[in-house]
Amino acid sequence: MSGQNSSNQSDSFLSKPAVQSILAALLCIVIGLLIGYIALLIISPKGATEAIITILKNYFTYPTKAAAMKYLGNTLVKAAPLLMCALSIQFCYQAGLFNIGAAGQYVAGAGASLFCALALKLPWFVCLLAALIAGGLFGVIVGLLKSYLNVNEVISGIMLNWIGLYTVNMLLSGVKETASPYTVSVASTNEAALLPSLGMEKLFSNNKYVTIAIPLAILVAILLKVVLSMTVFGYEIKATGIAKDAAKYSGMKEKRNVIITLFIGGALAGIGAAFLFLSGYEQWSVTQSSVPSMGFNGIAATFLGGLDPIGTIFASYFIQHITSGGSYLDKNIYPSQISDFISAIIIYLCGFVLFFKLYLNGYLRKRAERAKERGISKKEEGGNF
């Protein structure tokens, strides 16, 4: 009797959507890591086990706690913009839009914030605002094309990614170092443009790149969760995503919603870029010929996070964790892109999450029915006596 009870309990536990999302995400991670491990084995079987552990350990490879904390800081510095890109894609996905243009909106944000910081010498909050507007405008272009001219948002997004890249390269070539293709450093040119750290660097062994960007990104995630689940606007966005025509029929302005959604999405990605470049952690290379991968990794993070802002916080951290971990590999044996490979596998597997949930629910339903039948047949037997 007690056995049946506990199996019922585990069934109802498994049928919770949140539990299923977490389970699916963990399954994706495990399979992704396994395939990554197999790839490492093929490249060189000798150090493969050590290599996959290195990727997973990331900053824990440092022996002292102080050094580990410092490099945890570095991972977080890059996880914050990743989270913003992931949130951008996620917010748009709720409205049924696949915002692959997040990569370009991120580029636009980087260009605007660095231009304001380095060429116009403006303080950080103005640079942040500029990034927000630039990213948002890139989003709005996609939104206008989508809602009024029926242009597929994925294709227009990709085109804008490249247009953004070349435009920003041109824009920033005026503020680059003379000897290198990199933009001049924010810290030495205009210190007022650096994001304030509010003393947080002390927690991370004086890692000067740790700024308010990290708590702000988490705050934005929580804010989005609230907007999506508790406001009329969030409800309209989700309704537009699930059934566009029904939303229109019930009086929601679906065209306006699409444009606003993409503005917000673009703004999020743009701010993400400012979070990275205004921390001084990285400089923009004006000769780069491929779109930064941050926006694309955001896709991995958002789907791994089960399309939930809170889940995405953890997923972004995880994706950045293994990406940073990849850079500690022995570069003469293993390419560091093995981390990108694992992230890509994880995204591919996320495509099966829906199937996994369907399968799990079908299985649970069958079990419940069988248990019910058994219960009924037992009763009937009892009645016969």
Partner: protein, 313 residues
């Protein structure tokens, strides 16, 4: 001028091949956003063949071997899309995007590992094929005829004949327009969609190798194929999913892409002193404008992007 013509035809060939790939896939009802990734994989297969084949092999054999390798790697890679989108009913946009990222990462990892195994100091992701690449071109005066131009033309004619004149093609298109109706008259929708995706994998695979051998004799796999898979999708939409229109659209886009390669050779263009980035941007800007004008009354296959479920009628 000859150079401009040559590059226009080359880039148009790439776009024709890949856009026809997209065309087959979409006519069967599957949106193939992974074309970019399939191109990278096809390019990888072809480039490795070029790298390892002896330059003394007869030219025709080299061309055929390269095409076979690219077709095969493209088709094998597209299986990942077919399984996910047709059988497991995954989100086609998500899977396509995943394939693009996976191809870029996998190709870089593979090439780097090969390079490092050969020489531990070589950590680049570049494949070189200087000698064997010569087999692909036949100089006619100052014009360098590339065998792939012919391949693209043949593919274009074949695509037209297959789609409109054969039973297979008409059935394929039925599955993209109204799969339930197709199923009710005994057409296996799943098989047809598999065929569509595999054909798109083969064509995009060749497109990949054509792109990376156009004008250069080495390729750095870290950069992928620079959005060409998506440009091809724009060409396909502009061509309204019809092979002949796709051919014409590809010529237009190919021209603008070629300009960015050769603009410095024209006195009046270089006198304008426009930065190179502007020319690089040109194909993408043109495609945005073109999409804006052609998307509103699009003739897209009606059932594309919707996974087919036998149970739902």
């Amino acid at each position: 001028m000859v150079l401009l013509l040559q590059y226009t035809l080359l880039f148009a060939s790439v776009l024709i091949l890949v856009a026809l790939g997209g065309c087959f896939s979409e006519h069967s009802g599957v949106i193939n956003l992974g074309l970019e990734g399939i191109m990278v994989m096809g390019a990888l297969g072809g480039a490795l063949t070029l790298k390892y084949i002896s330059p003394n092999t007869p030219a025709l054999l080299i061309v055929l071997a390269v095409i076979a390798a690219s077709v095969l790697s493209g088709a094998i890679y597209s299986v990942l899309l077919a399984v996910a989108c047709i059988n497991l009913k995954a989100d086609q946009t998500l899977v396509g995007t995943a394939l693009n990222m996976l191809a870029a990462a996998a190709a870089t990892v593979i090439v780097k590992s090969i390079n490092m195994a050969e020489n531990p100091d070589n950590v680049s992701s570049t494949v070189q094929y200087v000698q064997s690449k010569k087999a692909l071109v036949v100089p006619i005066g100052s014009f360098q005829f590339n065998w792939f131009m012919l391949v693209a033309l043949i593919a274009l004619i074949l695509a037209y004949v297959i789609l409109y004149k054969t039973r297979f093609g008409l059935r394929l298109m039925a599955c993209g327009e109204h799969p339930q109706a197709a199923d009710s008259v005994g057409i296996n929708v799943y098989t047809m969609r598999w065929a569509g995706v595999l054909i798109s994998g083969m064509l995009a695979g060749i497109g990949g190798i054509v792109y990376i051998t156009a004008g250069v004799s080495e390729w750095k796999f870290e950069v992928g194929v620079a959005g060409f898979g998506f440009l091809a999708l724009a060409v396909m939409i502009f061509g309204q999913w019809k092979p002949i229109n796709i051919g014409l659209a590809a010529l237009l886009f190919g021209f603008f892409r070629a300009l960015s390669n050769v603009y410095s050779g024209f006195d009046f263009l270089s006198a304008l002193n426009i930065p190179g980035s502007v020319y690089n941007m040109m194909p993408y800007i043109i495609s945005l404008i073109v999409l804006a004008f052609t998307s509103s009354n699009s003739r897209a296959p009606k059932a594309e992007g919707i996974p087919y479920d036998k149970g739902s009628r």
